[in-house]
């Protein structure tokens, strides 16, 4: 494989948009045929820009990109004739049926009529879409759309396949299917570029280009990257006191590079030649065992380590008494129907004070619907919800005053400045006078908004936007915090910082409901409800759920393994 000419040569490329820092800053690298190359990085790292440069749809300011021997600026047409490209939203026409989409792309790519029947048959078989050829693309599930997008990109077998974040918004099962399909393609010598913000996907690639803020951090095989932290990753188990407190203390240790909660255990990345510190704890003392390094461990290490374990936000938070046994958030048979579609079906759980509860599931499963019913944004068709003891039907306003809400995607006013957003939300939550000044000032200090106060919120980098959104949600010291996909697409450092704050707040008695499709983030939760097709198919602590699916073949399943097994189990039950 090493003798073959690279399919893509990226030579010292710079791409700028307006006055912003360059989207790509002197990036260089190669992409080979017959393997999956991951384009890895958080949102805004420059992944999409780099793919668009490869398609010839954009021209670099400096440097050049060569695809299959053609220059992307002068010979774009030649490139476009031999690549397959699936943009972020798959590039499908929603008003056209599966077959019509295929026909369209077959015509556009000049697939000879004589080859069509065979090619369509093969692709429909491959993507398992044969039963749905008459269905409109808009009516397909996320996973099926993505497969159809792939099929369209594969018509007239491309030599290079460019996939822009194919794993976003797709359930883990479809994601695994897709990965297998793409792996089969590489066996035929096709070069595949798979861009992703998920680091577990990155780990599975043959080689990666790791991007952060437009800069290339690493290029090579994921194993090579993770080997840099080999022997430095530990799993600490048997923690008797609160694991959140323990994590905070570990993170304050100067030898600890990174740390996350993994169910009942804590995963630590240490500086070279150091071992996890011993916290003076009761017996039995926690035990540290070496663990297999992951891509994310190495990424964080490369970025210079995560933030410390102290959350100033939590330190200034007034503690809520955890005496009362009454749950803070309660859902009893919450059901929402839209026409004949049941988006959420009899969802029931309760969250005691000072716990993190996670709603886990693919897009469209009903997480956000459940979530919105519980913060009083959506009226349930049946069932009831309570926050801090207030019924959401009768005392919605009272309930809402006691909760802080951070919406999926950026939900602040983009045209207002940072200061104006803070002031506006303080006003909305009824803060005024000295208290308003005090709380706003505190947020500015904690999140380091000092120099950004006059900047429009929409111009902030993604990480800072998320910080501002969190600041606005906790201004009024809510008892319950609702976080809808809070860290989607954010770089891992910001994610760590975010969880440090959340963990700290929870220790002060704040109750948190969080939705996520990051499997590893689910590990931070005390308990999880797995939502699939509107129903809660499993409820328990992360370790309990994992234990449910553990088997001889898979003694130590990941959260994703657990998810897939539980979903398949529930489907079998339904079919029976």
């Amino acid at each position: 494989m090493s003798e073959q000419a690279p399919f893509v040569r990226i030579v010292d490329v710079v791409k700028r948009f307006g006055d912003a820092p360059p989207a790509l800053d002197h990036v260089a690298g190669e992409i080979l045929g017959g393997r999956i190359t991951g384009l890895v990085g958080p949102d805004g790292a420059g992944k999409t820009t780099l793919i668009r440069l490869m398609t010839g749809l954009m021209a670099p300011e400096e440097g050049k990109v060569e695809v299959l021997g053609f220059d992307t600026v002068t010979n774009a047409a030649d490139i476009q004739a031999s690549i397959g490209y699936m943009p972020q939203r798959f590039g499908l026409y929603e008003d056209l049926s599966v077959q019509e989409n295929l026909n369209l792309y077959a015509d556009l790519r000049g697939l000879p009529l004589s080859e069509r029947a065979a090619t369509f048959n093969e692709l429909l078989e491959f993507t398992d879409l044969k039963r749905f050829t008459e269905r409109l693309a808009g009516k397909l599930s996320g996973g099926m759309k993505q497969k159809l997008g792939l099929a369209c990109a594969l018509l007239r077998k491309p030599r290079l396949l460019l996939l822009d974040e194919p794993g976003v918004g797709v359930d883990p099962i479809s994601r695994r299917d897709l990965w297998k399909m793409v792996e089969n393609l590489t066996a035929e010598g096709i070069g595949v570029v798979w861009s992703t913000a998920y680091l577990d996907e990155a780990e599975a690639c043959d080689s990666v280009l790791l991007l952060n803020e437009g800069k290339l951090l690493f290029t090579g095989s994921p194993a090579e990257l993770t080997s840099r932290v080999a022997g430095r990753v530990f799993k600490v188990s048997g923690i008797s006191q609160g694991r959140r407190q323990a994590l905070a203390r570990y993170l304050e240790d100067e030898n600890v590079v990174d740390g996350v909660i993994q169910g009942e255990a804590i995963r630590l990345v240490m500086k070279p030649d150091t071992v996890p510190p011993v916290l003076d704890e009761g017996s039995p003392a926690p035990s540290a065992a070496e663990a297999t390094p992951r891509f994310e461990d190495a990424f964080i290490d490369m970025l210079g380590g995560g933030p410390g374990g102290r959350s100033k936000l939590a330190e200034t938070q007034t503690a809520f008494s955890t005496e009362s046994a009454k749950p803070v958030i309660e859902a009893h048979g919450l059901t929402k129907r839209f026409g004949d579609f049941t988006a959420a079906d009899a969802i029931t759980f309760d969250i005691p004070r000072g716990q993190i509860f996670g709603l886990l599931g693919p897009n469209g499963a009903g997480k956000s619907t459940t979530f919105k019913m519980l913060c009083g944004l959506l009226k349930p068709t049946a069932g009831e919800g309570r926050v801090a003891g207030f019924d959401l039907r009768r005392d919605a306003a009272e309930a809402r005053n006691r909760l802080g809400y951070m919406a999926q995607k950026f939900s602040l006013y983009g045209d207002l400045s940072v200061a104006q957003n803070l002031s506006f939300f303080a006003g909305v939550y009824g803060l005024s006078g000295a208290r308003k000044r005090e709380r706003t000032q505190l947020m500015i200090e904690i999140f380091g908004f000092g120099r950004l106060l006059d900047m429009s919120a929409k111009d902030l980098p993604l990480g800072l936007k998320q910080r501002l959104a969190l600041a606005c949600a906790v201004l009024h010291e809510p008892e319950a915090l609702f976080l809808d996909e809070p860290t989607s697409g954010v770089d891992p450092i910001t994610r760590r910082e975010f969880w440090t704050h959340i963990n700290g707040l929870v220790e002060k008695g704040v109750t948190v409901l969080v939705t996520t499709h990051f499997m590893d983030e689910a590990e931070y939760c005390d308990r999880i409800s797995l939502i699939y097709r509107g129903r809660s198919i499993a409820l328990g602590s992360p370790d309990e759920l994992k234990a449910q699916v553990a088997s001889a073949a898979l003694p130590d399943p990941t959260m994703e393994d657990a998810f897939i097994a539980l979903v398949q189990g529930s489907e079998e039950k339904e079919a029976a």
Binding site: D78, P87, N103, D107, R109, G110
Partner: protein, 382 residues
């Protein structure tokens, strides 16, 4: 595409690509409720609005009629007002009874037959009526005033023919050619067909192109061997045909439902309409190429195409009575050339010298728009 490219492909492939694009667009038009809404429902609403709702003729305006002195003569005149098909009359004794109604808009005017009327008439002087109107609505005010005068003139003439009055001084008799009933519907409906084609050509086209950008399908298209020219042409042809279909529907309605006369030829109608669609579509493409966003595209299309077609085309307002600067601006509004020609096709017949001039100008404006649109549509994202 460079000449020595290994992918120098044949005409067949190009034709197949173009056909695929047109087919795709047609499916979308048929299946997307918003296309149907803009191409068929909105035109119908507009047409009904202009056919039935909006009328520049004042029929049935409500007025208060004050008879200050009851007498056979004044009763007779009042009957004249009551019989008029332009007025709905409420009779009173004192103008104060109607003052509040006028302020509140319950009546549009007050006509007072004063005490002096009888004396003036008897003395052979021209008897004066007092007409009170609401000046904040000058159009209606004018109508009330004019029609009140006309009613009196009518009444005088009638008394004359009865042998009970005296001959009036001089009466001018008006005759209107081509639209003898002076029904405003007859020139509003042909005009609104131009508006409808602007909607389909500019608004709908700019929306669908912007939508492809928003949904990411444009990007996927561009990464295939399709050329920018093919992409544009594949958009234009379906919407060109849709525009003509929508126009045909409007014409059929105008003629068979509203009874608007159609005195010209079908050939002239289509020649004019087809040419008009050139600048309309060109403008739509230009807008969507520049904005790539449905909201902005619709705003721009409304302000730069729909409103000018409405206000600056002579459709509702006489161009000659606009300020000179505005008159110059109207010169680049394509609808300004289409509307008089269409009205001519409907009401007068084929006057080819007028049509060819209009066609030439619209063609020219169309070429300018296309050149600009082609310049700003390259196979590049940024």
């Amino acid at each position: 595409m460079t000449a020595h490219s290994p992918m120098t492909e044949g005409r067949a492939a190009r034709i197949r690509r173009f056909a695929a694009l047109v087919r795709k667009e047609s499916y979308q038009i048929v299946r997307d409720p918003s296309s149907i809404l803009i191409a068929f429902v909105l035109p119908l609403i507009l047409l009904f609005l202009f056919g039935y709702g909006v009328s520049l003729d004042t029929t049935q305006t409500r007025i208060g009629l004050v008879i200050e002195e009851e007498a056979p003569l004044t009763r007779d005149l009042a009957a004249g007002f009551q019989a008029s098909r332009y007025f709905t009359v409420t009779v009173g004794r004192d103008r104060r009874e109607f003052e509040e109604d006028l302020v509140l808009g319950r009546v549009r005017g007050i006509v007072v037959i004063p005490k002096t009327f009888m004396a003036d008439y008897a003395a052979g002087r021209h008897p004066a009526l007092q007409v009170l109107v609401d000046g904040s609505d000058p159009n209606t005010a004018n109508f009330v005033q004019n029609y009140a005068q006309a009613t009196v003139a009518n009444w005088e003439r009638q008394r004359l023919s009865d042998g009970s009055g005296r001959p009036p001084a001089i009466a001018a008799e008006q005759r209107f050619w081509f639209n003898p009933e002076l029904t405003s519907r007859n020139f509003l409906v042909p005009g609104s067909i131009a508006i409808v084609m602007t909607l389909v050509g500019t608004l709908l086209t700019s929306l669908v192109v912007a939508r492809e950008w928003e949904r990411g399908t444009m990007e996927a298209m561009m990464a295939t061997p399709v050329s920018a020219a093919e992409l544009l042409a594949g958009k234009l042809l379906p919407y060109f045909l849709l525009g003509l279909t929508s126009m045909t529907l409007c014409v059929l309605l105008a003629v068979f439902l509203f009874g608007v006369p159609f005195r010209g030829s079908v050939a002239a109608l289509y020649a004019l309409s087809a040419t008009f669609l050139m600048p309309a579509l060109g403008q739509g493409l230009l807008i969507s190429a520049a904005t790539k966003n449905q909201f902005l595209a619709s705003q721009l299309a409304l302000i730069s195409a729909f409103l000018p077609a409405f206000l600056l085309s002579g459709f509702l307002f006489e161009i000659n009575s606009m300020p000179t600067v505005i008159q110059w601006i109207t010169l680049i509004v394509p609808a300004r050339y289409l509307i008089p020609s269409l009205q001519t096709v409907f009401l007068a017949g084929d006057i080819w010298p007028m049509f060819t001039q209009a066609i030439a100008v619209m063609f020219l404006i169309g070429c300018v728009f296309f050149a600009l649109a082609a310049r700003s549509t390259r196979k590049r994202i940024a």
